[in-house]
Symmetry: C2
Subunit: 476 residues, 2 copies
């Protein structure tokens, strides 16, 4: 028989790239295995995975919200409410019993769109946030935001000419998924020199260029707060973006998974696109994605999230339902995680004080770490870093000398990948090269998370590495 | 702006059909809501969802395996081991601690391929089952078997001429996914009159016919034990199938999710395709799918499963890794569910006795229910039903009179859908029409699960309905 070879497989799959878990992450995993096996051959004693927004991972160990886990433990084994009644606050027991009455066993498939009660609670959360009604029938619970994004891109890409506008830099889920479904990515540049702002004019230029090249634009992806940039849109820009979607008949895909990660909430608040679309009474079809993996929840491993559809017809909602039903249902652990996120303990309830303390700590730690890291990175020669007001990341720009670029070329690597590999090899810190997110020609970046607890030691390592690098390769 | 309409979306999505959660399931959900709201207008007081193999759903209430849930509760909230030490058997606490040491928090993303320790345990389980080594690097944990099947079909369908051989009747995941990725389904008929056996000759005929029509066959799907048929392959047939794959250079996709649901294990044992391929020392690329949703585990809501790749090159494994990494990782609740399935308590451990009792009960209840239901359905006029030796279903054939077929035509329904809708309307029992799985032209069936606990009342309703039907429409 002929063996199965790459060239006999779907060529779109070969085009997919996803740097967040790419070459560097794989190498970091190998280093971790070596350390675990007791190796002393490496110049570091632990690997720090700053490549991915994964707050609860080993080594970062952001503690989960106790309330969420207590409810989940009771849902796993309801007998605990009687076997260990004193272990649980009363509001936790009540919440678990309410969910159990609705769901039954979390070992059963739920409604493919998600448990109706939980969708109702999500709708209430959205309504409280925006001041506009939300319909549970327009909400789909998902196994994380990525699953929803992938579904929508697979629906919107109806030909190899279908184009999706994506920011540069972007979270590479978008380029990966567009490649997988054989569409065209239409990049628009964010402006680093005004805090990674979004320019409506540059989107319009990108659109017109794409149309001239025969691409049919279908949707505009906005990531707000930004990933990897951490930037927040102001409402005026959001209004312009909605009107742009009206003008070009675009679906607006609003990736709002970092909506609760705000480090400067007064100067840079979050406004949902749902609210803006409703304020404008706009007919723009909007899909807004949210997740339990980020925010203060950080429950990446549960795989939970939702998307809300606005201005999407019933027949398209029925199509979406059909498509998600083939995958049966999102994980129940993720669904009950969504419930805990949108219905946290309220003031006066037994769990409230602890919940408040835990979430306040996560917010303030992240804000102060982000600020410190940005300041110290900015102080390095040839490094400039926007002090990000949101999300979990920094995306510093690094100037690389001709000598460094030449060395990268010889190694067959992009210069920023070459820098990041050296950083991993010397310090055990795994970041993602800017080329994985896209960047202006001739500029180099990397993305790192602001989740590492020992910020002094962590930034100290980054600084030490960078200074050695400059010594070796010189400044640009 | 132009509104978003169905005809501007991916035409492949419009072609997708998935009857298991289709028209009937949606109607059943509406009836359930009516009953919940206190309606007395329906001729039944509860809806029985026999359309889907979902053992733990409300109304069926197959209890989860206590061991699995105790481990999961401790993983959700590890403090319980100290807060309520007497609530947990010692082996459960030890297991949870072992998993925690490896995983850390289940709120963190894991390795995209699945937690290494759990993959190692899966490999050991496979090795114990087959007597051949299994490599954890060739195992991918998934969010249920469907996710893995969908991934593989998306890779194998490399052009609109790419063909996938599927049994008729089949689990409609296959036709749905092939439509989604715009491939060609190449149907081969199972033989109802010899217990839904698989004929190698009929597959070869289907292959040759497809090739003549310009289709390029890529893979052979085998569901063993069968869904919806419950049939088990004998080893001789399996060997012939492997050789057929060699001859035609086909990837063998072995859906083996019902491998633990055996009602007549002596007469109809299960042999994995991995073992057959190894016995023959065959080079056939094999992907075998397993799941925690079925078997005695029945943990559908966790979304857990795995696939093992045999004779798949490292470069293709790397491609698969890349594709799954875009989705980050399978749900941790599903992954630890897989661990409990492949590493149940052992004789002598504290949890063993209860585990044995629980699993024995599930096996014997299912076997006796299947036998009773098949016998009583067979006794009905115009109904014939293979007494299924495996899986969770029966797939009775119903003869429908010309009058019934005429009434169906007038209602714009397939005759078996018309029958199934009437069954739902009169009794609240939701089944899936045979047309959703495929069947021989002019024959009619439905699929129902054998999970309903009160078998007398349940089958009584089916019998009563069928007799009224025959009275109304006559025998064929």
């Amino acid at each position: 028989m002929r063996p199965l070879t790459l060239d006999s497989l779907n060529p779109n799959a070969l085009k997919v790239e996803y740097a967040v878990r790419g070459e560097l992450a794989i190498k970091a995993e190998e280093y971790r295995e070596q350390l675990k096996a007791g190796s002393h051959a490496l110049p570091f004693d632990r690997v720090i995975s700053s490549n991915i927004g994964n707050p609860q991972q080993k080594g970062l160990d952001q503690p989960p919200i106790t309330f969420t886990r207590q409810v989940a433990a009771l849902m796993e084994w309801p007998a605990l409410a009687e076997l260990a009644p004193d272990a649980f606050p009363k509001d936790v027991i009540a919440r678990a019993q309410e969910l159990s009455r609705e769901i039954g066993s979390i070992g059963a498939y739920s409604h493919s769109q998600g448990v109706p009660l939980i969708r109702k609670n999500v709708a209430q959360f959205i309504q409280n946030r925006d001041g506009y009604p939300s319909d549970p029938a327009h909400i789909f619970l998902t196994g994380g935001a990525s699953a929803g994004v992938s579904l929508f891109l697979s629906l919107l890409i109806n030909s190899p000419r279908a184009g999706i506008l994506i920011p540069i830099p972007q979270y590479p889920l978008y380029t990966a998924t567009i490649a997988q479904f054989n569409g065209v990515a239409i990049p628009y540049l964010l402006d680093e020199y005004s805090g990674w702002s979004t320019s409506v004019e540059s989107i319009e230029e990108a659109l017109e260029k794409a149309q001239k090249e025969g691409t049919v634009p279908k949707a505009l992806v906005i990531i707000n707060p930004g990933n990897p940039t951490g930037a927040l849109l102001d409402e005026t820009t959001q209004e312009k973006l909605v009107k742009l979607c009206e003008k070009f008949s675009l679906v607006l895909l609003a990736d709002e998974v970092y909506q609760a990660n705000l480090h400067q909430p007064k100067e840079h608040p979050f406004t949902s696109f749902k609210k803006v679309v409703k304020n404008l009474n706009s007919p723009v079809p909007l899909v807004s994605f949210h997740s339990i993996s980020k925010g203060v929840s950080g429950e990446c491993g549960r795989r939970g999230g939702y998307f809300e559809c606005t201005n999407i017809s019933d027949e398209i909602l029925a199509l979406i339902y059909k498509m998600v039903s083939v995958g049966l249902c999102p994980p129940l652990s993720g669904q009950i995680g969504v419930d805990s996120m949108v219905r946290p303990p309220r003031e006066g309830e037994e769990s409230y004080v602890l919940w408040k303390k835990e979430t306040d700590t996560i917010h303030s730690d992240l804000a102060s770490r982000t600020k410190t890291m940005a300041a110290r990175l900015n102080a390095l020669p040839g490094v400039s870093c926007v002090d990000s007001p949101g999300a979990l990341y920094l995306f510093p720009q690094i100037k690389l000398s001709d000598k460094a670029q030449e060395a990268a070329r010889k190694a067959g690597k992009e210069p920023d990948a070459f820098y990041s590999l050296a950083l991993l090899d010397e310090t055990g810190i795994c970041v993602v090269p800017g080329s994985g997110f896209g960047q202006k020609e001739g500029e180099w970046h990397y993305r790192l998370t602001c989740l590492c607890p020992g910020v002094d030691e962590y930034v100290g390592k980054l600084e030490g590495f960078h200074r050695r690098w400059v010594q070796k390769y010189g400044e640009q």
